[in-house]
Amino acid sequence: MDAASFAQGRFREFMLAVLLVAGVATLPLFVKDVYIQNILVLTLMYAALSQSWNILGGYCGQISLGHALYFGLGAYTTALLFTKFGVLPWFGMLGGGLIAALIALALGYPCFRLRGHYFVIATIVIAETAYLLFLNWDWAGAALGVDMPVRLDSWVTFQFARSKLPYFYFALMLAFVTWIVTWAFENSKWGYWWRAVKDNADAAESLGVVVFHSKMAAAAVSAFFTAVGGSFYAQFVAYIDPGSVMSFQFSLLIALPAVLGGIGTLWGPALGAAVLIPLTELTRSYMGGTGKGIDLIVYGMLVISVALARPDGIVGLFARRRRARASA
């Protein structure tokens, strides 16, 4: 494949994303039902979160099952700054993102020396520790969490009491931004380094890839956007507690769309979220309310079957065409 057709291919991907975003943006014209709108917001949020996770877990191959830590940090930074000091959520969002990125770097320093399962378990353990600390941190509301009453129905305070649509458009923008960031990184020096680290860290190192710095960069970018997603979530639901934003289950939820859609791929997370989130939300509301766990059964079977049947994710279904193009 020559450079011109490669650039053309990338431009085509970009245009496809723009068209998709434009298409999704018109959905509220047809979807008036608040319940469905709610599912759309969550789907877009998970697409953004999983896209962020995918940078570290998918492209760089460092499987984190502790991303709820960064999500929670974003949510708590925004919520606490707003309720305790009256700082506007926009600053909280940026601050939360930066704090999460800094913490990711501080944690990455010792953690990225660990390999395989030792690394995965370290991510779980660190997030669990933070969860327990927040659960016992009285100033931050401890187990009761933080309630964020609506002060002003406006974009200034990023609070909307009457309509879900502003949240919808923000989530759409966030999903688009994380997609563009991934798209831009994919073809940069970092993107190639990340994939080299994932495939074979030792070989990459011997060829001059600075493995450690690659992992650190991926962790910082990934944590930043995960935390921005957390800030958004805090504004969206107006109430957070450690159980809903920092639990291990949440870390899994962040990773799953990317895994289902196709790990380490540009479209995987969005595709995975589009399938997984509506499905789980619908099974939960139609079958979960009975407390019979049918939603869990469906969910578990879905995860097993996709992991077994399509190890490269749903994106794998579309890959044949692309492979044919790549070898031409």
Binding site: H117, Y118, T129, L132, L296, L302, I304, A307, P311
Partner: protein, 293 residues
Amino acid sequence: MLSAETIVQSLASGLLMGLLYGLIAVGLALIFGLMDVVNFAHGEFLMTAMYATFGLAVLVGLDPLLSAPLVAAALFVFGALVYLGIVRFAMRAKKNIGMVQIFTTFGLAILMQGLAQFLFTPDYRSIANSWLGGKTLSVGDIFLPVPQLAGAVVSIATFGLLYFVINRTDFGRALEATREDAGAVALVGIDRNRVFAIGWGLGAALVGLAGAIMATFFYIYPDVGSSFALIAYVTVALGGFGSVFGAFAGGIIIGLVEAITAMILPPSLKSVGIYSVYLAVVFLRPRGLFGSI
């Protein structure tokens, strides 16, 4: 105030609990050592064993002490079936193999929790009357809970038996050979799939034994496994992944650390001590305490 007595008392209970943690974790270590797979449904295996023990106690009136071997046998069959029905296929993945293994076993964990909720409701259950439950034994000024004491005895006996099986029997040698080179053993006539299936069965039977004892003093509910699973991962990692006797030592360390943390910090933070020790150990020795390679 912390008197010498309370300290000895806490350490003694910590030691007993630690031996039980070792027993909970050893199946995980065995399976990992054999085939490099972390079973993320390990906690749900424990939960299944607890419900099985509960069921036998309620329906047949069998005491957990008597049903323990039955539960272990049932879990053996279950573990082997999980390998043959699910994990075997996850091992065949050509791409993202680590990811496939993690998420198939996670999917299984979610599925099993859902099934438990469906069959038994999310209610907390406990076995009201058992030979062990609720009794204590006093040694001088120290009171030892009998269920945990029994768990510790079973744990030590099981590890002794495991030592024998791994080092002195043909099956143990086949296990060791398969873990060293699963491809080469086929050439000498060992059926790899059979060894793996038995390995999964054995791993599940061991956690089944632990579950039967746990059922005498712990509440039984659909996600009871999650918290113990995390402790088991930490135990196994601390001991060095795959090292069966590392799990024994790891369990004891975890039990003692938990007891000490509970004396210093509020009880709700007692796991923080365990997590910190894990991080301290792997940061200083990235292969765990007793890990080789």
